[in-house]
Subunit: 80 residues, 2 copies
């Protein structure tokens, strides 16, 4: 099964990349935007029999490698 | 409204970052993984009245700045 791990900076953690993207969008003519935040997503084909096991594996991988839990939150969803 | 733009490398485009993540996960004990692909996600608070307009704005921003359409695909979804 394929899981998707979404990793975002926690609320309140400064996000200079998001700020830069927001500024660039404003320059390009997209005015009036609110907060812009950037994160990563990782899609992984896991050897799981069911959705529950797939999500568990995705969460374990996020905790151990994909997310820095001091400053980042993650969510895991099954894609297919 | 808040939209989320997911940007991934197109099928067939080499993804060294994904490969490196897959290798690191294997070293950490997550064996038997299939393909691993890395992408970015950008959450943007847009000044739209309805979901349709929000998605349209997200798509326009993806085309103009967030995605490199030569090598990347994107999807846009409304988060809230």
């Amino acid at each position: 099964m394929k899981v998707r791990v979404n990793v975002m900076l926690k609320e309140g953690v400064l996000d200079p990349q998001g700020k830069a993207i927001g500024h660039a969008l404003d320059v390009l003519g997209f005015h009036g935007l609110g907060e812009v935040r950037a994160g990563k997503l990782i899609e992984i084909e896991v050897p799981a029999q069911n959705e529950e096991a797939a999500v568990e594996q995705g969460e374990a991988m996020a905790r151990e490698l994909l997310a820095n839990l001091v400053i980042e939150d993650f969510t895991v969803e099954v894609v297919s």
